[in-house]
């Protein structure tokens, strides 16, 4: 089964299903009551033919706006589609992320793909099946309710059959979904709830073409961009004459402080940029924050204050309580994809720039690029191709913008731009540094009465959003596009303040977001957004309060937790870990962390053991147990893979990572200066799921980031008595904390 699109085939719409007026008339598919919600993204794209087509050759084409990022989403939606339609999975051909062909499902992010795309596909397939059964009933002259389907073959009680493909006369499913077709009951399901092998993996183990990096259209040239030394630098002078004369260099593109090269060969493009770098003179800002000053900087800014939870504090009125507080900090973390961002762009004779990109937001990015190029949005066409995992808004869109700019200089020739490792490390938008301050009053038993949390953060959202100013290159052009005014995201998902409201029940809870509408370093969405720091703070602080109360960390949380699904997950993780019978050995300790992602999505609890070497300050994680509830599970192994990957990444963030930067530029420029967790540092991890069939898909890709960081801090505390509130927990920091 192919997972990538052949655009011409899709445009032809060959053999798609036509629906007779008659059928619509007698099918009771009347319009919905106004305002009734359809599942997921059907609300914005209700027409069935936008999502699904019955095609010649026994194929079903599924068209989705969400894209594969290595999280397995296309396999999961294929499972759902095959299930509801009653066809074998290998009949599906998926087209995803092509701005001309698929429903606009916005950005593939925020653990929204299963709730929004998975739910829509489920309903679409169920409705398509119902329509097909109606057609079959007519053809076979029987009642639709008496028909059965196996792999697209509809069978009547008398043995007569008709296939989906017989029933199709050409045309399309030109009707809107009604939301009324029933979803298959759990019994008798073939795919959903079972781990389907991922569709993309056979390609990836064998070197078959699947990544955007593997595209080599005829006549392709190689583009590279000369990035400035530091943020907001201005190009003062550049003598590019020798580079321009170099054989094989097709073009040196200069537009303000944006400089790029297009060459016949990749190594030549790289050499040319090195030569240009040696020639270029820049005006580099001499002031700016560093990784160390950024926290004070955050506190010094004029913030927008948002009281996201305001309740009367009870302790003031009553007898004095014990008051405690703590401050937690996280640094800038990079997405740090293993494959640098890449895109291929071609300016066609009709004035359309076609771009193959691993962007998470093909629609909005194509509009932003049109804005940058000063052309109508119909003149930019983006197609998603898989890239290296991104974990949020990385440089994918910037590479697409670079390729688009360079392609304008060589009409008709495809230009592939692949960023260097150094550019990827230094120029991607980072997950922003944050300060989170917590305080609580407790009663005589040590239980929490009042709870307060304040956080300081810049924006976590500078995705392209249809605006050129969000594209790196556009800000350095002769006529630069300004960065749009940074925004925070409001309820119910929140952004900087995601998960800032604790799930626990206190007599009062007050939460304030101090949103800083400017930047110390380029920043945007990174896996979990503010949830990573907020859950780290909440789950560390509650652990501190449990310790102060002399209570067990799990029992203390349960005292304050009413949510049944939350309690179940917390208890399950504790049980998996062997929490009750845990025997401490010298230097070792255990910790737990828990959250419901966004307060409305997946429940996730992580328990782990660490061993701390007091001499070196090195923390070694020896084992991790995680319990997760993301509602109804489509592919258990797919969920486990995501959760496990999130745990490893969060351990890496929390143990090792901090972007180092300053007025001269970013100093974390490669893997030596920005190390990540390695094979021998990754602990054994077990993940178990509580499946909730019949409940909504909650998504899962970001659920384990916050609980992991907190569990680690709590385990180090248990092992050593030292409380780490500053991420990352480098050996030097741990040593200092042990000596304090």
């Amino acid at each position: 089964m192919g997972v990538s699109a052949n655009r011409r085939d899709v445009l032809k719409g060959a053999g798609a299903l036509v629906l007779g007026f008659e059928f619509v008339a007698d099918s009771a598919l009347a319009a919905d009551a106004p305002g009734q919600k359809l599942p997921g993204d059907l609300n914005t794209t209700p027409k069935i033919s936008s999502w699904l087509r019955v095609e010649e050759g026994g194929k079903i084409r599924l068209l989705v706006g969400k894209v594969e990022l290595g999280q397995g989403v296309l396999t999961a939606v294929a499972q759902i589609c095959a299930e509801e339609l009653d066809v074998d999975m290998n009949r599906l051909v998926i087209t995803s992320g092509d701005t001309r062909l698929v429903p606009d499902e916005g950005v593939t992010a925020g653990s929204f793909s299963m709730p929004n795309c998975g739910s829509a596909v489920r309903q679409v397939a169920a409705e398509a099946r119902q329509i097909l059964l109606g057609l079959a009933a007519k053809k076979l002259g029987v009642d639709a309710a008496s028909l059965g389907v196996a792999d697209g073959v509809v069978k009547a009680a008398d043995g007569k059959t008709a296939t989906y493909w017989d029933l199709v006369a050409g045309g399309e499913f030109e009707v809107d979904a009604t939301g009324k077709a029933p979803i298959k009951a759990r019994e008798g399901r073939r795919y959903v709830g079972k781990s389907a092998p991922r569709l993309d993996i056979p390609f990836k183990v064998s070197g078959a073409r699947i990544f955007v990096q593997d595209l080599r259209p005829d006549g392709m040239l190689h583009g590279r961009v000369l990035r400035p030394p530091a943020y907001d630098s201005k190009l003062v002078s550049l003598d590019s004459s020798s580079v321009e004369k170099t054989a094989g260099v097709v073009k040196v593109v200069r537009n303000g402080s944006f400089v790029g090269v297009v060459a016949e060969r990749e190594e030549l493009a790289m050499d040319a940029v090195a030569e240009l770098r040696a020639q270029a003179k820049w005006d580099v800002p001499t002031t700016g924050e560093t990784q160390d000053t950024v926290y004070d900087w955050l506190l010094r800014q004029e913030p927008e204050d948002i009281h996201i939870r305001k309740e009367p504090v009870v302790s003031i009125a009553e007898k004095p309580r014990k008051v405690v507080g703590a401050v937690y900090r996280r640094p800038y973390h990079m997405h740090a994809s293993i494959g640098p961002s890449t895109a291929v762009a071609t300016l066609d004779a009709d004035g359309v720039t076609h771009i193959q990109t691993h962007s998470q937001s093909v629609f909005e990015t194509s509009i932003a690029i049109a804005d940058m190029l000063g052309v109508d949005k119909s003149k930019v066409h983006c197609q998603h191709e898989q890239g290296s995992g991104c974990y949020g808004h990385n440089a994918a869109d910037d590479a697409a913008a670079d390729a688009a700019l360079l392609a304008q200089a060589v009409p008709g020739r495809p230009v592939r731009v692949q960023w260097t490792r150094s550019d990827e490390h230094k120029w991607e938008p980072y997950g922003p540094a944050m300060v989170v301050s917590t305080a609580a009053t407790t009663d005589e038993k040590g239980d929490i009465v009042d709870w307060m949390l304040e956080l300081w953060s810049t924006s976590h959202g500078t995705r392209p959003g249809g605006k050129a100013g969000n594209l790196l290159a556009a800000r350095y052009l002769e006529k630069p596009f300004a960065l749009p005014k940074p925004v925070n995201g409001g309820p119910p998902n929140y952004a900087a303040d995601r998960n800032a409201i604790a799930i626990y029940e206190f007599q009062s809870q007050n939460v304030t977001t101090h949103f800083i509408p400017t930047f110390a370093a380029r920043a945007s969405a990174e896996r979990g957004l503010g949830a990573y720091a907020n859950v780290f703070a909440i789950e560390s602080f509650i652990d501190e309060l449990a310790a102060a109360a002399g209570a067990d960390a799990v029992e203390y949380r349960l005292r304050h937790l009413k949510d049944e699904r939350g309690r179940a997950i917390l208890q399950k993780a504790a049980e998996m870990f062997g929490w009750r019978d845990y025997k401490k050995t010298p230097g070792s300790g255990r910790g737990i962390g828990f959250a419901r992602y966004k307060g409305l999505a997946a429940y996730c609890a992580v328990a782990m053991e660490v061993v701390v070497d007091r001499g070196s300050g090195k923390v070694r994680v020896t084992r991790v147990a995680c319990a997760n509830d993301c509602g109804e599970v489509v592919s258990p192994d797919g969920v486990k893979n995501q959760i496990e990957g999130g745990i490893v990444q969060s351990l890496s963030w929390t143990l090792k990572e901090a972007v180092r930067f300053g007025p001269g530029g970013v100093r974390s420029a490669d893997w030596a200066s920005y190390p990540i967790l390695t094979f021998s540092e990754v602990p054994p991890i077990t993940v178990e799921l509580i499946d909730r069939p019949g409940t909504p898909f909650l998504g899962t890709g970001e659920a384990s980031q916050g609980p992991t960081g907190a569990a680690l801090a709590n385990a180090v505390f248990d092992a050593t008595g030292a409380r780490l509130r500053d991420i990352p927990f480098t050996p030097a920091r741990v040593k200092a904390a042990l000596q304090a």
């Binding site: 070197g207 494959g339 990540i676």
Partner: protein, 151 residues
Amino acid sequence: MPALKVNGHSHDIDGLEDAPLLFVLRNDLKLNGPKFGCGLAQCGACTVLVDGEPVRSCVTAAGVVVNQEITTLEGLGSIDKPGKLQQAFIAEQAMQCGYCVNGVIMRAKALLDQNPHPSEGEVRLALDGNLCRCGAHNRMVRAVLRAAAEA
């Protein structure tokens, strides 16, 4: 004539001796297996075998390995007929994005050729120079051990 022997086939690389082996493999021979990750010998994504030894093709000039036996991911099997390690990676669903997988499989191939039954610790140690950002490490280790067990 300088020739690059890749997966049993000989290719004339006249004039490309100074180009990085990785770019010759990817751009000239149109192989997708070896990946550009860092160009700095830091991540392992570009790993190929040269006479059975794992080599980082991003920092190796093509001219240096002429007439040696170069094996890439494609040399271990194909999508229709995956080799033993490739099958094990499918069986364990041992990846997320899969960008690092070329390097991991090629490094593991070199390990298993020398040490057909490594311990888990030996596998981890051998793979320590291969970076994975998706956190699929444990699955990949299981896949390598599975391939070894099925040998």
